[in-house]
Amino acid sequence: MATEDARYRQSSQYRLWSFSPTQLDAKRETTNALARAMISERLLLSSSSSSSLPNSNNPSAATSNANTPDPDGGGPSLPEFLTPAEESLLLTFYTSELLRAGDHAEMSDEMKATAAALFRRFYITNSIMTYPPQEMSIVALFFGCKAEGAFPRITDFMEKFGRERPEEILAGEFLLCQGIRFAIDVKHPFRALRGAVMELRSFGDIDPSRIDNAEFHAREILRFSPLITDAYFHYTPSQIMMAALSLADRGLAERLIQSTFHYVAPPSSGGDTPMANNGDASKEDATKGSESSSTQAAIVGTYIRDKVLGAIEACRDMLSKELPERREHWTSKAVIKSQIQPIRKKLRKCCDPDRSNLVELQRRRREQALRKADSEDEDNPDGDRAEMDAAVFGGDLAQNNNTKRRKVVEDPFGGPL
């Protein structure tokens, strides 16, 4: 049977949304550079040419921007762009805003946490300069409810967040879904904490009020610190839980670790027991009881224990930079004035002219989709004709011809039903 770890590795959170810090930085830099290039191109297009035809007339400007991440000589009309560091700061700020808005709407911890995680996932491959973070945070809250199995009415949501029209929220929903690669499930550490607390209680020799106290503080941490940092990208829910518990009461966290990784090599067996170097060990295996001492050691021995401790400590460090007290930091007028406003000001000048208005963007896309559908008959009742495949799958001209030709040869299914 599968270990819990093996299960976790099948989750979309692990498959699609777990990265090392280096990978994550690289992705954000790429996103930032790409956004600069695209926005430069669009700004130049709209400012330079009156009778402009897209694409063909400024390839040099575009490529030079793409190659030099900091285009200072990129023409007179280009604004200063946000750096990856500035984007990151703004992202943190807006995550804090998102959490506050979630509190305001009285959403459950899971809903807020899912919304925050999806929001941060979205901005790995999308720049804040491309899509407006304020708007997307409301979209993320709305979709966070859905992801957690509640399906609020858009009208209620509009009221809560002072929006006038449903489109203002709905326009970004599909965009968000696509940006999170249609992986809706987010795994949280909240239940893990409940489990840990039950286990601690079962030991019987720990003062219950100490456990309650630790649970309360750990939960406070989980409701903020991992959500506003990159913890979800780097650590598993149980590692995050242990790190939070450790911040709340280090002694209790250590007690859990000791009781889990309890295996001590028998003194006589010699020092040359090979420690199987796999990371697949889990608590589950531990309770099943293994036969040989070497497998025991591999699962609940000191090697794995140290590895786990290392991860928890690193996660602890990350969380400790944004403890719940920092909620006030991100709402402090002085901080906003000195750190956030200047970047926002910059953002207003360098945001994507095509995409910063979500409602307008969606309207345009729908129009294009309609035009496309008209010419290609996609939703026509007898639209099963070969032509429509090309319409759905692809769009560009060369591809179209290809598909059609292949279609004639390959259609072994006969005509329409």
């Binding site: 790409l34 897209p54 859905k146 399906f151 858009i154």
Partner: protein, 425 residues
């Protein structure tokens, strides 16, 4: 017992099929060379497949985001074929991999629902959420997801050409099967349900026509449009799930917090139906459904189910029927043997707390008594053609519930009483 993670079903085609990807990336794209087109937003970028993201920047066409490029890439891996059918919730198309015409897929295109004003519809959200996570040989696998045109969601699912269990059950004249066959089908169903529960997911719509059959005879649990994750204690859930004939008494009585036991009841009724070759409890209304349960299984009372009378919608016919003993089932269900009947009645225990769990089902003696389960290749198959049409009807059907959230808004209006079989012409 299922050894799930060993199964390398492709769930993220990007990861699992490097070959396909390379192929895609070699397709020359002419979008750079074509004369300017009026709609730059929709132009696909140059071939990007396989290249890591950080190398992509210089080759950009500057018209598509990274995400949009990924989407284009995913979309191009499949060729959408003829429409297999049209439903209220989705249309289903036959499709195949662009680089391999023999690799069939079903493409389920979610419709934008006019009557649902609140964005992406619940069925789509639920199905997507759970199929992304559940990878098991007895659960339909989601191969890919992409959006076509602007905002149409397309789920690329494995193609299951051999219909569903309902077709086999109903085709009494042409399809014959025996105890070993039933055991094989039940085994696959039970493993699927166990796997869902072990991953904290309730399916909430188990019934024979949601059990599709793959080309190799494998049964696959499909349609996760009503599924949800286990709720924390105290959190309210909707009682309006599961198609009526398969709905357990706790839901009929309006329980607002429940467990995997609801699915187990449905599994029990599928079991009974496999033996009888007709639905065991085909109530025409909820009241009638409760009456049937009382008559054929026994009346839920405080004695056999402590607390049941506290459920909000608890009403039972006045003449109390004691819970039928095993002997009473032997006549009708004896074909699966004494152990089989034992398993059946454990799934149909009235009190959900005492009902057998999916895991305990897998540990039951019946699986190890003769006859052995039939090998899946040797299982009876449906007769005649029409497989594609039926496969489509199975995929596009609306789940047994209309919109309405877990908090009870909109509850009790139409819900599971109103199944849209009509759409599946």
């Amino acid at each position: 017992m299922a050894v799930s993670p060993l199964i390398a079903y492709p769930t993220d085609a990007r990861v699992s099929s490097p070959l396909k990807q390379r192929q895609v990336s070699t397709v020359p794209s002419s979008s750079n060379g074509t004369p300017s087109l009026p709609l730059p937003l929709l132009l696909p970028g140059p071939g990007l497949g396989g290249r890591p993201m950080h190398q992509m920047v210089p080759q950009q066409s500057h018209t598509l985001d990274i995400v949009e490029q990924m989407n284009e890439e995913e979309k191009r891996k499949y060729v959408k074929g003829k429409k297999l059918g049209e439903g209220t919730y989705a249309n289903v198309y036959l499709g195949h991999a662009r680089n391999n015409p023999n690799e069939f897929v079903a493409i389920k295109k979610i419709k934008v629902q006019k009557e649902y004003k609140d964005g992406l519809a619940p069925d789509a959200v639920r199905e997507l959420k759970h199929l992304q996570e559940l990878h098991h040989p007895n659960i339909i696998s989601l191969i890919s997801v992409f959006s076509s045109k602007d905002q149409n969601l397309n789920l690329v699912l494995e193609y299951l050409p051999l219909g569903d269990l309902e077709m086999l059950i109903r085709d009494v004249d042409r399809v014959r099967y025996g105890a070993g066959d039933i055991k094989a089908w039940m085994g696959m169903l039970t493993r699927a349900v166990w796997f869902c529960h072990d991953n904290f997911v309730l399916h909430r719509d188990i019934k024979p026509n949601n059990l599709l059959i793959a080309a190799n005879g494998e049964v696959k649990l499909a349609d996760f449009g009503l599924a949800r994750s286990f709720a924390d204690p105290g959190r309210k859930m909707t009682a309006n799930v599961i198609t009526r004939w398969y709905r357990p008494p706790e839901l009929l009585f309006g329980a607002r917090h429940y467990s995997g036991a609801v699915d187990v009841w449905s599994v029990g009724l599928v079991f009974a139906e496999l033996v009888m070759r007709a639905p065991f409890l085909p109530g025409n209304s909820e009241v009638e459904q409760i009456a049937l349960i009382c008559k054929l299984i026994g009346t839920p009372t405080e004695e056999n189910w402590p607390g049941v009378t506290q459920l909000k919608e608890y009403t039972v016919p006045s003449d109390i029927v004691p819970v039928w003993p095993k002997e009473a089932y032997m006549g009708r269900f004896g074909a699966v043997g004494s152990e089989g009947v034992d398993l059946l009645i454990r799934t149909l225990v009235l009190d959900p707390k005492k009902r057998i769990t999916a895991r305990e089902m897998l540990e039951h003696k019946w699986w190890r008594t003769d006859p052995k389960p039939t090998r899946k290749e040797d299982l009876p198959r449906k007769s005649g053609g029409g497989s594609a049409e039926k496969a489509a009807a199975d995929l596009k059907r609306r789940p047994g519930m209309l919109d309405g959230d877990e908090n009870g808004n909109n509850r009790g209006t139409k819900v599971a009483r109103k199944l849209d079989f009509g759409a599946a012409k």
